[in-house]
């Protein structure tokens, strides 16, 4: 049974029917990231230019001579979606000022997987956020370098088995905790950061719409489950994303000018984290001790956010 409240049931019919991300792309069946992109585009609308890091979404969507994109799109390389986006944003500013292109706002949205954002792409992202470009960066986090075959990334969660940090007799998978890029970007003093999950489509789309309205650099970190990499049946993609939120593994919140707000209420109490870990093949090897460690950490991270919601004021009030 899904958690969507009754009044949301008919909300899909209010969503723009135009498909900016066409069918026929080569993503795996049940791909959370493809769905997330499809929904993001609906929230962005036609006046958008997308820059894309190398990754699943780039190779599956634009294989010469076809493209799934019904929006202007540019891909250059793996680590540079944010800097390409910075270039596009600057060009639009200059060309619009000089009257060389239409005089209307076109948003630059840079997207990348966790690989192209959290690890190799972090420098470019940090630079773009620091320079204050008027752009949105969305990270689609499927928690490993999926396109190249499920290798470990900085966003891979503690204990997950990946091909470069596999579980075995001497190892329980990834030894380090997940890198919290949302907080790193917030430390760049950007006007808006948010976390999202594709299983909560309206929360995600609302955040994309909000980021569009805000001038300056914005960042959204969207969890996009990967049935292939997480070793799940394809049809469970949305269910596992929901469990991630219900167990507190992926709390959904936004920070506007420093003010934290939880956008999908955390369950009181949270569902036990084992409900989220058990269905996934990448966690199958975990011992009860490790699961307890994860449970404790999840609770702490949720409390951290609740603490920030309660105690941190908006930057405007502190100024």
């Amino acid at each position: 049974m899904s958690i969507i409240e009754n009044f949301d049931v008919y909300a899909p019919r209010l969503v723009d029917q135009e498909e900016f991300y066409a069918a026929g792309h080569r993503a795996c069946g049940g791909c959370g990231e493809a769905l997330a992109i499809r929904l993001m585009c609906k929230a962005m609308g036609r006046d958008t230019i997308v820059t894309n890091a190398t990754g699943c979404m780039e190779v599956t969507a634009c294989m010469y001579p076809t493209t799934a994109w019904n929006l202007p799109w540019i891909h250059v390389a793996f680590p540079n979606s944010a800097s390409v986006g910075a270039g596009v944003e600057s060009a639009l500013k200059a060309l619009r000022r000089k009257g060389k292109i239409a005089d209307r706002y076109v948003q630059t949205v840079s997207i990348g997987g966790d690989g192209g954002t959290v690890d190799i792409g972090l420098q470019a992202l940090s630079g773009a956020m620091e320079r204050g470009h008027d752009m949105l960066y969305v990270c689609f986090d499927n928690e490993a370098y999926m396109n190249t075959g499920i290798q470990r990334s900085g966003a891979t969660p503690f204990g997950a088995s990946t091909t470069t940090a596999p579980a075995g007799d001497e190892s329980f998978g990834k030894k380090a905790w997940k890198k919290n890029v949302t907080e790193i970007i917030l430390a760049h003093n950007v006007p808006y950061v948010a976390t999202a999950c594709v299983s909560y489509p309206f929360d995600f789309m609302n955040k994309v719409k909000k980021a569009r309205e805000i001038k300056g650099p914005c960042y959204i970190h969207c969890m996009a489950p990967c049935p292939t990499g997480w070793r799940l049946p394809m049809g469970d993609c949305i269910k596992i994303g929901r469990l991630a939120v219900e167990t507190g593994v992926c709390p959904l919140y936004e920070v506007e000018n420093g003010k934290y707000k939880i956008t999908v209420d955390m369950l009181e109490p949270l569902r036990p984290v084992i409900d989220y870990l058990k269905p996934q093949g990448r966690f199958r090897h975990l011992t009860p001790e490790k699961i307890e460690e994860i449970q404790a950490r999840v609770i702490m991270e949720c409390n951290k956010i609740k603490n920030k919601v309660d105690s941190l004021q908006s930057w405007d009030e502190l100024g």
Binding site: R46, D47, T48, I49, T51, N52, E58, V59, C62, M63, Y64, P65, T67, W69, N70, L71, P72, W73, I74, H75, V76, A77, P79, N80, A82, S83, V84, G85, A86, G87, V88, E89, S90, A91, L92, K93, A94, L95, R97, K98, K100, I101, A102, V106, Q123, A124, S126, G127, A128, E130, R131
Partner: protein
């Protein structure tokens, strides 16, 4: 009325770029080209240039931002050297493959290790096969002329390729020379506004940077190769237009007394002027010596080169980069390959000179010229020589 000024060449290059009205400049500083982006940012700050200047956090991001901006239809420029060029190295072949006409000024500097900020050509030579056009300036006037020409060449619809304008680090970038500047009106006439082949914008939807499967990749590379080869036509046209507009002549290979000479020296960049003094000295002594100044590196001007060396008995090729364990320096190997099938090709001696800012004097060129004149074909002393290495 053309303006003449005594100016540091890097500053002059910046002024020349400003005359071209770029829309976006994304740059990261690295010695010795730093004065170029610095002065450009001054020009923007003074309000003399309407341009978005992005101080990126790395060279990789600088070239990436240039890609984004060029992809969006802007005229873009960046500058770098050595390690900076290598750091943006991942993007370099992509720019050419995506057919983005990005103009990049290289203040040629040695590649590290050991770290060395002074001048040689190891940085540009490492990018030989990246599909970029490349020209070499020998003095300050050539630098600013070539920068302006570069935009026109790169943006031509029959070219659509990025281009390196090479100027020797410190030897040119930091020298003050008398330079004649065209006026803004003259440059506007010579170089009209950029009309991109395609631009990412919702008004005309395009996807740039697609995946090339094995069944098309080969053809893409063929198309790219043909584009670089055919750009020579456009380069020669632009140089003709330049001569008409400004009176200064440019050719792929400039001959300095080379016609009919027995012994030829080949140089690129600022060393040309030193070598020309050496050639004068050798001619005074009665030798039959001439100098070839190679201005166009990519596409390589094969026909012009074969013509230029026809009849010469000896050719000293001056490289300024090492191809460790190879058969010759980068330029030496290129020329040997070119002349392999030519009947009566000259005996080639390949010197690698001026690495990491090592000074090369008139006396050195005279020594090399005399040595090269004694070379016999089929009996090379050695494949190449790193000139002046103590202990060898």
């Amino acid at each position: 009325m053309a303006k003449q000024a005594g100016m540091e060449i890097a500053f002059a290059a910046a002024e020349a770029v400003a005359l071209c009205r770029p829309d976006v400049i994304a740059a990261y500083p690295i010695t010795p080209n730093t004065h170029m982006p610095e002065h450009l940012s001054d020009i923007v700050a003074e309000g003399r240039l309407d341009c978005e200047f992005i101080c990126t956090e790395s060279e990789h991001s600088a070239m990436s931002a240039c890609c984004g901006a060029s992809g969006a239809g802007a005229r873009v420029f960046t500058a770098t050297s050595s390690q900076g060029l290598l750091y943006m190295g991942e993007i370099i072949p992509i720019v050419s493959a995506m057919r983005l006409p990005i103009v990049t000024a290289l203040g040629n500097r040695a590649l590290s290790g050991p770290i060395n900020i002074w001048n040689d050509h190891s940085d540009i030579m490492s990018q030989r096969d990246m599909g970029w056009l490349a020209v070499f300036a020998a003095n300050g006037q050539e630098v600013i002329d070539m920068v302006i020409q570069a935009f026109k060449i790169a943006e031509n619809r029959d070219v659509m390729l990025p281009i390196f304008v090479n100027l020797d680090g410190f030897q040119l970038t930091h020298m003050v020379e008398p330079i004649v500047f065209p006026t803004q009106a003259q440059v506007d006439k010579f170089l009209p506004a950029y009309k991109p082949y395609a631009a990412v914008h919702p008004d005309n939807i395009v996807s740039m940077g697609s995946l090339g499967m094995p069944d098309v990749f080969n053809e893409f590379k063929k198309a790219q190769d043909e584009a670089v080869i055919n750009s020579k036509k456009v380069i020669l046209e632009v140089w003709k237009d330049w001569e008409k507009a400004f009176g200064r002549k440019y050719e792929p290979i400039i001959s300095y007394g080379a016609k009919g000479a027995d012994v030829l020296l080949l140089t690129m960049g600022s060393m040309t002027e030193t070598a020309s003094v050496a050639v004068d000295e050798m001619c005074k002594e009665g030798m039959s010596v001439g100098l070839l100044d190679l201005k166009l590196w990519r596409p390589f001007p094969s026909e012009e080169f074969k013509k230029a060396v026809k009849g010469a008995k000896a050719l000293a090729v001056m490289d300024r980069a090492v191809s460790y364990g190879g058969t010759a320096g980068p330029v030496g190997a290129e020329i040997k390959a070119l002349l392999y099938d030519e009947p009566d090709a000259p005996a080639i001696t390949n010197y690698i000179i001026g690495l990491g800012g090592r000074d090369v004097t008139v006396e050195d060129f005279i020594k090399m010229g005399k040595e090269a004149s004694k070379a016999k074909k089929g009996k090379p002393e050695k494949a190449y020589e790193i000139y002046g290495a103590r202990g060898s």
